[in-house]
Symmetry: C2
Subunit: 397 residues, 2 copies
């Protein structure tokens, strides 16, 4: 646990002003962009209205949690998570109201991390998930391992169940209704994804891409001259498919920011896109994925094969050796790798980076087997788990 939430802030407004000499204005909201005259209109928290000129404008408005369009969605006790402030609001609500029963709607990264945090705080936690298993960015045969990890810590899962409504009492949330049941709730966490804050851009006539994210080129230029976008408000390109994709992750945001900042200051960097890599930790269970999952491969009509293996994170006899399951996906005709999913104990997840690298290089399953990956008993079986999976995949190709 991190003791002080301020430790989570990488750079304060003072850092920007002091170290970078950037004129940071907080409590200033940009309400409109005049792309022709290169000006933005601003409204301050105290109600003042300003207009400022720009040579280059970077839109980095981020994303917000998706809130279902149902009655009572704004009731007290219902929280979406995005900013540090939103996390603090949940903490404050829990301390003030001492909720007993929590319902998490959605089984993605945010939903699972919040479910774990609430269980640790002693709440009775239920999680409603539309998909067959939690963590829909994994195939269900791997997602079930994560579902199990959640049940193991005491989360009650309602899978393949559709959230339908909130019930309230005295303006506070009291129940979450699904297509199959009604769950009493003192607090509700929304974990059904985020949507880009792209309204400002759209209002200025800037083109949007997948899921309303701002369309950018590989230099992070929008469709409008001298306007750039980066981070959770901007779209990406998937490096395997070449198709636009919206992935709101810190690593992507950070890289896009570097590229945009460098380019608008006259440099030349490119953001080549994403591989769909993501990693998470639910209690002791590490979860990782990269590339394309079965659903995505079916959508693009790929003829693929899969292999799942279960082995150990370290030499079998080595203390602390835990289980690791690796799923690999490969193209039948070429043997080319298409994706990977990993669920396992300590040391499991970061192995996905080898596959992300192999995918970027267009490697086949045989290429993966041929890699000289590191081995010593504290770190790995003699054959790294990803290579054991590749040996299994080759038999299916």
């Amino acid at each position: 646990m991190v003791d002080n939430y301020e430790d989570l802030v990488a750079r304060s407004p003072e850092t920007f002003r002091g170290e970078y000499a950037i004129d940071v204005r907080i409590h200033h909201e940009v309400t409109g962009i005049d792309a022709v005259n290169q000006r933005v209109s601003i409204k301050t928290d105290e109600g003042r209205e300003l207009s400022e000129p720009y040579d280059h404008l970077l839109i980095a408005t981020g994303a917000r949690p998706i809130c279902p369009k149902v009655p009572n969605a704004d009731a007290e006790g219902i929280f979406g998570l995005s900013t540090l402030a939103s996390g603090l609001r949940v903490q404050e609500f829990i301390e003030r109201n001492k909720p007993r029963r929590a319902v998490v709607v959605g089984g993605g990264y945010i939903g699972l991390e919040m479910a774990e945090a609430l269980v640790r705080r002693g709440l009775d936690v239920s999680l409603v998930q539309r998909g067959q298993e939690v963590m829909g960015t994994l195939d269900s045969d791997m997602g079930q391992l994560v579902s199990k990890a959640l049940r193991d810590i005491g989360v009650t899962l309602y899978l393949s169940e559709e959230f339908t409504a909130f019930e309230t009492k005295d303006g506070k949330v009291s129940e979450v209704t699904t297509d199959q049941r009604s769950l009493p709730a003192d607090i509700v966490i929304l974990g059904i994804g985020v949507t880009p804050n792209s309204e400002l851009a759209a209002g200025a006539g800037i083109e949007l891409a997948a899921k309303n994210a701002i369309k950018v080129d590989d230099q992070m230029r929008t469709s409008t001259t001298n306007i750039w976008a980066a981070g959770d408000c901007a779209a990406s390109v998937h490096r395997l498919t070449g198709q636009p994709i919206y992935i709101a992750l810190g690593t992507v945001a950070n890289k896009q920011g570097l590229v945009a900042g460098t380019n608008l200051a006259g440099g030349d960097l490119r953001f080549p896109g994403v591989m769909g890599t993501a990693v998470s930790k639910i209690c002791q269970v590490e979860v990782a994925r990269t590339g394309l999952q079965e659903k995505e491969l079916q959508e693009i009509g790929s003829e693929y094969a899969t292999a799942i293996i279960k082995t150990k994170t370290r030499a079998g006899y080595y203390p602390g050796s835990g289980s690791i399951s690796v799923k690999l996906l490969g193209e039948v005709a070429s043997g080319r790798l298409l994706g990977a999913q990993i669920v396992g104990m300590e040391g499991a997840a970061k192995r996905v980076d080898v596959i992300a690298t192999a995918l970027t290089a267009g490697m086949t399953a045989q290429d993966l087997i041929d890699l000289d990956l590191s081995y010593a008993p504290p770190f790995s079986p003699v054959w790294d788990p990803v290579q054991i999976a590749a040996r299994q995949l080759i038999k299916q190709l």
Copy 2:
């Protein structure tokens, strides 16, 4: 600690006989190969002499610790480490003789692992190393981090010092002499490398390669028809230089064995060679390397640049976040990566696999920066340490 040494045995003779129906003969030494008539001569432990025919012969005679050619090298209390039995002999010697002062000659993997083991058993441990720092497979700027880790656990290091002789008393080792001093010793561990057991092969006229290892092609065929070799007795090819190299590591041996076994049974597998990847753990410090180090690059006349960065294994605020140092080497003209060395706390070492994969794919420092590597606070800073190193390396190219 592993409680029972038998847990370290992956497959017993009984497993081979039972599960694989292989006629395993222990206590049988092959003393000669008649490659013309395809027969081997055998001497049993009881002194019987046999001759057996073969269709295919696999030489998997392994390697043995190098023993310095000095007087008293066979004195009691001096141990090389290779087989499980040799480890048990050290353990038995310690239990029987209760040595107080240990001297380890050589600062490679075996020397360091034994130094740690002896410190843990309460011995006063000195280590003599010819090189400027321990772990000569790292450049000295990274090796010094490992030297520090050893000093931190109480090992006394004598660096840049040449071992010269053993002194004995009543047939037991009593002192280790270097070109600078004399060190009292109740037990001595030799960690100055291994040499392939290739005499049997050489006696049959089979060609040897680097460091007297048996020369093999990528199918593990020796120069003589129907004779194959694999493991610590066989040479490899370095995938970056294309040059023969001798690397006695379990992962290489295991892969060569699979390739040799598959091919001599009529299959078709290739062993593409090694990338020089290795990993080790000294107490809590993880050490990894891949590709070529400065010394190797100078030998081949490469014009290279280097960068070393120090960062954290996890998000800075995340509990358990430790330091990690990454050194990257790249070719000045092309930006192509040439090697990496990593020293750090938990989670540091296995990151070398990303570089091993990138090296195999011929990636540049920019390619490494562009990779979509996984990020979440329990696993990594937003930019993975290997990418932070690549950003630094680009400035040097």
